[in-house]
Point group: C2
Chain length 418, copies 2
């Protein structure tokens, strides 16, 4: 009576999901709406940066030739003919022994070829003296030294973070071409589920997966369309799923993917003619995680257990969404850490343990974030990373080196390496 499912490796499951993530269209947004989006065009330097030879200091713009021979015993005097504030340009010419007062960021006049810092002078009334010679080009930020006009500075597919915004602003990108964000449908299955504002009744629990996934999407800047909580009724479920798929770019369901009598998702996938990419992954928690495709839409059947649901989203759904937007770095970053506690449970499958990493004396140390069963919610609220414990061993002890996946990192990596 029990369907036997063949587990596939996490890396293979990731690969299958990514192969089936279809690229969305692009759209134009204004710069002030661009933060957090994925660039759909490269950032090209529209002009040299700096756009002109610029003074990096407050001081005086001089002709280097006029400073020859200056010394402590033989201070060279200059007469100031004009003052150039940032944003202003010189209107006068200078001759031998003349100089401009110039402010940080101001354009160097054509006749001057060196900048003397205020601190290097003794000032008088409209005059100053120098005690050392300056060479041509000294203390100048040269036009184009930071970027040349036409240079491609940032690829398309990059995340637009605050630094990216600065670059876009510099080049006058008042509008930016970015990937459209998917419309994500969400529905939680299970007659045992109550809404957050309902009182507990025997046999029931509140739906924590729905709000959690909404927040996981929100963390990515992605909205959602909720299809509520389905009762365990196959016909009603099928209709709702069908409507949700029609109205969205991808669908996330929680629960209903196990092999129990009320686990309707497999039957719904079959009725709708969806192709199941996998329905068992060699991981704990979340081995029942199921992903199917209908047309060009991915259907994520995440486990009803909160930790499994959380992990399934981060491992599979998040990179798929990023891939749909053409992101170049869709995967969670990872690093090595020292295991901070024994974790002796046997691991027939790869185990993903919610954990807290901190910097220790010798490097990062990661310790499980408390009670660790797939049903546990308290540990989810503590972790800032996921420890990845490979399958095929008998357990892990404190001090061993493990890989950790960083949760909530702004920028990811281009390859799934674990």
């Amino acid at each position: 009576m029990v369907e036997i499912r063949k587990p596939i490796l996490v890396s293979r499951a990731v690969e299958l999901v990514m192969q089936n993530a279809k690229l969305l269209a692009t759209e134009t947004v204004t710069l002030d709406a661009a933060y957090g989006r994925i660039l759909a065009e490269p950032i090209i330097a529209k002009h040299d940066v700096p756009p002109f030879n610029r003074s990096p200091y407050d001081g005086f713009a001089v002709r280097a030739e006029d400073t020859v021979g200056a010394s402590g015993e033989n201070r060279t005097p200059f007469k100031v003919v004009e003052e150039i504030g940032a944003g202003h340009v010189a209107t006068k010419q200078i001759e031998q022994g003349e100089a401009y007062r110039i402010m940080t960021g101001a354009e160097l006049p054509a006749q001057a070829d060196a900048v003397v810092m205020l601190e290097q002078t003794v000032e008088g009334e409209g005059t100053f003296t120098l005690r050392k010679p300056f060479v041509e080009g000294e203390n100048i930020s040269f036009q184009g030294e930071d970027a040349k006009e036409g240079e491609a500075l940032i690829h398309k597919g990059a995340l637009i973070h605050p630094g990216t915004i600065a670059l876009l602003a510099t080049f006058g990108y008042a509008n930016v071409e970015v990937a459209k964000q998917p419309v994500v449908g969400l529905l939680s299955t299970g007659t045992e589920l109550l809404n957050v504002d309902e009182a507990l009744v025997p046999g029931k629990i509140r739906n924590s997966n729905g709000p959690m996934i909404i927040a996981q999407l929100e963390r990515m800047g992605i909205g959602h369309q909720s299809y509520g909580m389905l009762v365990d009724d196959l016909d009603a479920c099928t209709k709702t799923v069908e409507r949700a798929i029609a109205e969205t770019d991808m669908l996330i369901t929680t629960g209903g993917v196990s092999v129990g009598d009320y686990d309707y998702l497999p039957a719904i996938y079959e009725r709708l003619g969806a192709k199941v990419l996998f329905n068992k992954v060699a991981m704990r928690p979340g081995s029942v995680t199921t992903v199917a495709v209908l047309g060009d839409k991915l259907l994520f059947g995440l486990s009803g257990n909160p930790s499994a649901c959380f992990t399934g989203f981060e491992l599979f759904t998040r990179p798929a969404i990023l891939r749909m937007m053409g992101a170049e770095n869709p995967y969670m970053p990872y690093m090595k850490a020292t295991l901070g506690e024994d974790f002796t449970k046997p691991n027939p499958f790869t185990r993903f343990v919610r954990a807290v990493w901190e910097m220790g004396e010798a490097g990062p140390v990661a310790a499980p974030a408390g009670f660790n069963k797939s049903s546990a919610v308290s540990s989810i609220a503590r972790g800032n990373c996921i420890i990845v414990l490979p399958s095929g061993t008998r357990g892990f002890t404190k001090g061993m080196e493990v890989n950790i996946l960083l949760l909530g990192a702004e920028q990811g990596v281009s390859k799934w390496a674990l």
Copy 2:
């Protein structure tokens, strides 16, 4: 003529800012608006988790005593009297040799004390047989094993991330007490600044700091109130700053903090009677970063150079905002990394180098993200971390161990350790 400023250490500057960050009030938000906020109350387990003894599998709930003696040669038969779906409770009693069909997540009936997984049975019509005995309590998720009613699970001051949302939902926190977010005023000084939609003209550049800081705030989920770009006119500037301070909880200005003739911020602070905490920090870029206090409001005078402005925000403004909200982990996380490139510039001050870290064979490797001057914008758009190079040495070479600060990390650390 030039004011001599005494530089203070970065750690001391951080300390002064944090000491002057005043705690904001709290407010109640609905759960669906709570993501990214700072908890102003602890999360208390409102009930045991699980709230009842629960079946972790699809299978049968039995009395362990009835399974005594079962073996492959002597399979013990059971009669199924009732089926308990998740969210339902048993209505019938069982007697010797009887069992319930039970689904994952369903409440274990009082009379049963063990769960037999479907895979461990051979099913017939309303019956099944077992080939091994079960002990009392086998395969049961016990009431309260994840959390006990009344237990404080998460401190106030914690960031509400998706896992926290799951926990709040579990306990029926339809409303959550969170820290109010500060109203942050923003103004950019400098006559050299153009808006993003303006064409370049000689001597001018577009304002990149304003949009960048707005995005840095947005990354924290914090809005802003813009006071536009001030012209370099002391009276006009003073009035605008005064109004901005009156209307906001804190003020960020960019530019105007150097010692040039048009650097009005020092004069404005003096006119308004603001207490300057520091006006020179032993860091590059951003040594001119100035922070003042007026009443209980912090005034951040960030450098007009984009990289310096960016760094000043991340080092000082961000933790101050988090402290104002009572966040327990206001500082950027850091870790050790191997320097991926020579960085031979001398460092009279601590240097903060925008960089990219990646996982290498032997651990994280961080390399400067391109051209590195405080005016450079292209490197800002590439970095995912900041390399911290201590002062007092002659340069750093590839392969040396350095500390890096992680940019855009969701969760920070409680202490400034660098």
